[in-house]
Symmetry: D2
Subunit: 390 residues, 4 copies
């Protein structure tokens, strides 16, 4: 159980790029990073509007002189300080991830970046090489995968409690974009424009969460072929999609089906995962994250609750609130931020042994997400045809 005791050598000095007052994403980073004392927010380039960004940063407790106009100024300013930041979180539109990440790494700073990481696998691989060469960490904020019951699922699959995995059913849909985008805010605008969003809208925005979480639960399985059928029900979003179905064939013969949509009118909280094995199934939804449904064929269905002693150690070790007490998305983010902090701490100490076995969403996870998107787009562009996963 995590209780706030320190798990790293010293708190990391931390800056944010983006995540300012006008958006919602910044607070998720801060509430995830700050509750345990692993990060100290000491600098930032929070906003395209430098004045507003400074005001905001000061309100967060950052010294005015460490509230920068942009990421370049931040890097310049911080790398010349004795007490400069260790790590920078990037919570900006997709099209800026690559250049900011590269600049930070080149300046010797660790990076924590929003998903989808970059536009292309080639960019990811270039950055991966750079990070490795510099001995730096790139974390990716797959924020839902810190939940104790996600790791309960992984542990149960690993122990063989499901038998052979046969079916993977993934869904992340909502209806917030059911209407058209006339008068929509900035967050919608950049996400539906290929120049700023990259080659996908909902596939990248929410589908990568599904894909990464399935990798965490099923690390032994690989996609061999997939088919992606995508569509923009609001035509102005084309060629990007507001709805897509992806079929996947895994190397062990399993079948996957994935649904992402932001035009599923009225739908709330339907991020749903179902893993079906030859003996039993697991089902988890982030809308009731404290419950895990475990169904053995021929037996009564079981509802497992987070924090209960019957869970696997892998799950109990990362529980924060204890049984009966709900954990929310912020608790999950705080585990993600913790694990990345541990990676950074190990990298700072050059503890390669630790890094070899330590699990966190890093550059590989980010790359695999982009690779999956590339395959989806390739299939969709070929007329929703089957493609070999490459």
């Amino acid at each position: 159980m995590i209780n706030g005791e320190k798990l790293i050598s010293r708190p990391l000095r931390w800056a944010m790029v983006g995540g300012g007052r006008t958006g919602q994403v910044g607070y998720k980073h801060r509430t995830g990073a700050l509750r345990d004392g692993n990060y100290q927010l000491v600098a930032g380039a929070f906003d395209l509007d430098a004045e507003r960004g400074r005001d905001f940063g000061v309100n967060l407790g950052v010294a005015a002189e460490r509230c920068y106009a942009d990421y370049k100024a931040l890097i310049a300013g911080e790398t010349t300080r004795e007490d400069g930041v260790d790590v920078v979180s990037i919570a900006t539109p997709n099209f800026t991830h690559y250049e900011i990440t590269k600049a930070c790494l080149e300046a010797g700073l660790h990076v924590i970046c929003e998903k989808p990481l970059f536009f292309t696998v080639a960019e990811c691989e270039e950055v991966a090489r750079l990070a490795e060469q510099k001995g730096l960490i790139v974390g990716v904020t797959y924020g839902f995968t810190g939940h104790p019951l996600v790791h309960q699922m992984a542990a149960m699959v690993k122990k063989g409690m499901l038998g052979d995995i046969r079916i993977v059913d993934l869904q992340y849909t909502h209806g917030f974009n059911a209407g058209d985008d006339v008068g929509a805010g900035e967050a919608v605008k950049w996400r539906t424009n290929p120049r700023t969003a990259g080659p996908t809208f909902v596939l990248g925005d929410i589908g990568t969460h599904l894909y990464y979480l399935s990798e965490v639960v099923l690390p032994h399985m690989k996609v061999e072929r997939l088919l992606c059928d995508r569509k923009a029900f609001i035509p102005t979003r084309a060629p990007l999609e507001d709805h897509a179905t992806v079929l996947m064939h895994y190397d062990n013969g399993a079948r996957g089906r994935l649904w992402v949509s932001s035009v599923n009118a009225g739908n709330m909280g339907s991020q749903r995962y179902r893993f079906v094995g030859s003996k039993a199934s697991l089902e988890w939804s982030d809308s009731h994250p404290d419950q895990l449904i475990y169904e053995v064929q021929g037996e009564p269905g079981r509802i497992m609750h987070h924090g209960m002693p019957y869970l696997e150690q892998e799950s109990l070790a990362i529980d924060r609130m204890g049984a009966l007490h709900t954990e929310g998305l912020g608790d999950s983010w705080s585990n993600i931020y913790l694990w990345i902090a541990q990676a950074i701490d190990a990298a700072n100490r050059n503890d390669q042994a630790f890094l070899k076995t330590h699990h966190y969403p890093g550059i590989t996870a980010g790359t695999e997400g982009v690779r999956w998107l590339e395959n989806c787009v390739r299939s969709a562009d070929a007329g929703a045809a089957w493609v070999d996963f490459a």
Copy 2:
């Protein structure tokens, strides 16, 4: 509200072929048919074992001499009686549907048949012509579509309460065949053998329910293209499938996704329907059939209950138990049997005007189900390729 008052000229004299003591399906027919006095069970060929069938029939209150050894004897015996049966229900394995139906129709008897109706569209069309020529009815027992909330959905779609339909999400899965078929009973054996089951297993056995119900709710939409990816996780079932995903493109641009499986280990009652429009969505599951979820984007989700005054007249008119009082699958079957009785009654009176507007699952519904299966198989056999719906 249906309260048992007669809706047809006189009770129909009714026989069953199949539906004997060793299976479960027969009681569904009887409990659906008998509660309102629209049918009188007066004859039957209930069992391949004639002795056991007679004993069973007598126990159901059928005169011993009207418990026949097989359907041929039944037709021969009943058509020579003054008080011979009007209609025969066929609750036998798929491969017998076609020949028994034809024989009944040729003998002047109406038919009520299990789904999937026959093996091929050609057979369906031949039978349709025969029925029309004889002025006889062929009903098909899509047993779930009698529920009041199914018709609530249809009425709401018709009134435009969902806007334009964009997404159709259909699922009927269970896990009863998660294990292999060694030692399995007769019901599993014939369903997994192409000779007796026809070209599909779960697509025909449960998928046709999904497809027909979606036709009831969305009568204005047609499938233009589809792709079917099917698989037998238990290899002895091949070439039939125990799992399939079907993607559908509708003529109005909507996208459909359908999942059928009998290896979804531990899954109970997940027949789920979701219809997503540009304004709102509807979701219904037969596992909690008294509730309908209606979600307007941007408003709190709504839970509608059967029998409540706020429902549409189309739904209230076919309610049996009233609000607060659960209806089960048997109540739904009793509506289906009622509607078929009304069709038979009208046919007997040659009331073409009534028949023109009367809604019930008949030969057209049965044919469309088989057509959909043919398209699914064609796609699957082409390597899960897109095919134009033909």
Copy 3:
């Protein structure tokens, strides 16, 4: 599993008093009685309006001459026929139950009566003596207690799977009487008038269902003391109540809490039963009657489904639809009607051995319900004071 095969010597000739076109309750009796061929509806006095009653009866298939103006005419007419009815169901307002029941019994007819049975225990005991003397059955339509999972609960309690029972939590509430009764229909008017309803409104109307079902599950436990706090939120209903809480102390030290209300605004389907033992609990609601929640302390909660092989034989034996296929309230009524038919059949054969062990809601169950109501009223009238159960 019940499949419609006969379980009694011959179908019973059956009449209804009340249950006509203007109410909802009559169909519940008919749909419960008629689906299995245990009853033949051949006579009735369906309506205070004799003409309307005759028209209705004929529509149900009853011969016009056996549609009587009132119960006296029915008894007179039927007892002089060779093929007169065996049994009469009484679906009239509470204040008529006693006189109609007595008249039927005196005429040698079995009775099936709505709850609450009569106004006083004295009346119940008088009728019990009369029935015993005549060798006749009085059944009481506690319609929810025919559900297979109710008997699953009883079997699990009996086997000790819950340990010692500690807490009994019972709730049956709805909001249909949240508004005042200006312009209310007949059904509300007679239920809120002490002259026609007897000494209670919701306690008798819905509370007796809770109490009887708890007796079925916990036959070994007796109430020793109780306290009833009742209130009419709509003042015109006083001295009757539209809301009550009853606390109960059982002879084994268990504690009971019961809530009935018809002013629980917006509440649908919350008939809920929870039985808590020293080891485990059971929870069942008639709004999702196909699921039973079984919770062992320290283990994942379990969801049991009707019709599944892991259930006790007592439950499987009375299942009608089979696993995956929902049962509704009508299916439960049909079991109640079956069990009463078996009692009548045994009484007709004077099979005392059968009657000694046969379980059905009879005169004892009806009497105990009225006794409980008397105790509730005595407590409430004493200012919601504790009273010894008498």
Copy 4:
């Protein structure tokens, strides 16, 4: 929406008494207090074992010399420092609350204390006078009442959306004490001993949460009479209770029923609140805290989600994660800690105007909880008799 921007003049210097490594409660305080930068944990007396407490404190980032052996040393040490703490949180067994609170207040320190606050109302009132005299704040950690949907309920009641409140149904039960206490840990031992727990076990431990939350939602209603029936199913816990039912009559004629139990075997997360008005009802459970059920009689039930624009401003203003993203108990605690911080900040600035309208669980809330417990015990000791609320 709360996004981490500062809402007080400066971060508060904060110490904890109790809340060490061996219990779960301490982390709830820390995760609630630390995420927004309103508190800096700079001192503590975390553990009865001074050595272990120091090790723990250092691990939390507290300087070793500010990890004290006990609360007296903490007060002595901190009040002599220039940068001494502003406020002390007390997360120790009940019997110590009073003396530690008094000592802190006398030393000029604000206090945040666990519930139930003290043993008697007299103690509460004495402390209230002391706090007022000193101009200091006493906050009480009713941790569930920070959730946005709790305040949505309060706002809806205030606007009259429910009509007149008629029924209040409160439940907080679990089964963690279903077994006996042989070998139980410290947390159970002190809670079941009157010397250390005070006059109640579950009534104080979990029932006060129910009572305070109902006060937040229904500030206009007062309890006039109550009846408490309590019992120790595990006899060694007597005279304290592990199960109790409380009936309440409110001054507006409403009826309340409350259930607390720690022997509700297998029950998880059933903290449930239902507020029934003449027009509509609200229902909320902390086990699915992101959903609020709003039921208007005669309309479909509505499910409201936190963070959605259709909510009242009172709710949206305190949302942290935004729609679709679950909030957990920690988020609720962080609002409670924020509101107490704002009170302390205002007290430090002697901003009486702010304090007059600022809402947070303070000494009054704590006192009312203890008053309610006193009334419950008085009733229970009189044989579960009605008592006038005093």
